[in-house]
């Protein structure tokens, strides 16, 4: 029997539907699907490389803008490279951070090699043990559709692991998406305008 899985595009569409004003950091495999799903590119960070530090970047953003949700779509391989960040996030305990780990069991960017512990490691177990306040696991589309909104609204740090199918052909080294650095510079500019208190214009 084949294990149930969720299509990455479907996951991204569901998250996009309920994101509101959230900042979304889309890492590795999720980048292209997120780009297709998102209608708020000014709040998106396309993240690649840097050895799985998307979750750490999300922690910094969540602490900086506590009134705005920060969602990170991470990969299982990326999370394994920066597993200690689960403890750092839980220790800082930002209520506005939600980490969604796409668990496809492979390093999609390098050709689909199996990640260590694929199929045996419990990412939800790691998150729960680290001290995340809300933890969920999804492997069926109907579960995802039902539970994603409550998860995104939960007081964080929140965590979900989502069993996804590997993206065919992996991920190209170069693509048309803006770089992570360009996204961060643009996001900084956007937040400095959007999160300015009402009435500040008069002071300029």
């Amino acid at each position: 029997m084949t294990a149930a899985m969720i299509d990455v595009d479907e996951l991204c569409r569901e998250v996009a539907k309920h994101r509101g004003e959230a900042i979304v950091i889309a890492c590795q495999t999720a980048r292209r699907a997120w780009h297709r799903a998102s209608s708020r590119p000014e709040l998106d960070v396309h993240f690649r490389g840097v050895m799985g530090k998307g979750s750490s970047l999300a922690l910094g953003l969540a602490l900086a803008v506590p009134d705005r949700q920060v969602i990170v779509l991470d990969g299982d391989g990326s999370l394994l490279m920066n597993l200690g960040s689960l403890a750092s996030i839980a220790d800082a305990a930002p209520g506005n951070l939600c980490l969604i780990a796409l668990e496809n069991g492979v390093y999609a960017g390098t050709g689909g090699q199996k990640v260590p512990g694929a199929g045996t490691v419990s990412f939800a177990g790691f998150a729960r043990a680290a001290g995340f306040r809300a933890v969920a696991s999804f492997d069926r589309p109907e579960e995802l559709r039902q539970a994603i909104e409550p998860l995104l609204r939960a007081t964080g740090p929140a965590f979900a692991t989502v069993k996804t199918a590997p993206v065919p052909g992996g991920e190209e080294v170069q693509d048309e998406l803006p770089s992570m650095q360009r996204c961060l510079v643009a996001l900084r500019g956007y937040l400095s305008r959007a999160d300015r208190p009402l009435g500040d214009d008069r002071k300029l």
Partner: protein
């Protein structure tokens, strides 16, 4: 008789300099020589200490804080700076980057003579190789250089560094 010069930064003066420079957050992995700084920051009224599990997280967290309008100063030791290589590259060396300053504990630094600790030997050559401007803060009287580092980071919209000299007397007792 003149007292021998002290070649290290005292924790209280360092924290006062952080406050004076408007630092809001310190992503921090403590090292033995700067343990007292950790104690001063852990319950500080205006600076939030962000405990990290590994040094590579520090600059990533700082990048998020800067993107969100805050002024962090990640503090790690030079050994952790080596470990953080890909974070430094990814968040600090790109063509488009954020204005950030990183504080690096200068383990192994000596005021005079040859540095023997390889952590110290390779610190400045690596900063130079990566083109990261840096200033060495070897005593409390050098702490004004922190403001210079922040000014340069803002002006250039690039990563800047300060090297914080550690207590060489303490280090010498540790056999380094």
């Amino acid at each position: 008789m003149t007292a021998a010069p002290r070649h290290f930064v005292t924790p209280r003066a360092l924290v006062e300099a952080l406050v004076g420079n408007g630092v809001t957050h310190v992503p921090y992995l403590p090292d033995s020589e700067h343990a007292a700084t950790y104690d001063l920051l852990k319950d500080h009224p205006s600076i939030r200490l962000v405990r990290i599990a590994r040094e590579g997280e520090a600059l990533a967290i700082a990048a998020g804080l800067v993107a969100g309008g805050k002024r962090p100063l990640p503090m790690i030791q030079n050994t952790g700076f080596f470990e953080s290589g890909d974070s430094i590259r990814g968040f600090g060396l790109a063509k488009e980057a954020l204005p950030m300053v990183i504080a690096i504990g200068y383990r192994g630094w000596v005021a005079e003579g040859e540095m023997r600790d390889t952590a110290a030997v390779y610190t400045e050559p690596i900063l130079k190789a990566w083109g990261i401007p840096y200033r060495t803060i070897a005593a409390d009287s050098d702490l004004y250089l922190l403001a210079r580092a922040f000014e340069e980071a803002e002006r250039t919209q690039r990563l800047n560094a300060v090297l914080l000299v550690e207590d060489e007397h303490y280090a010498s007792t540790q056999g380094r």
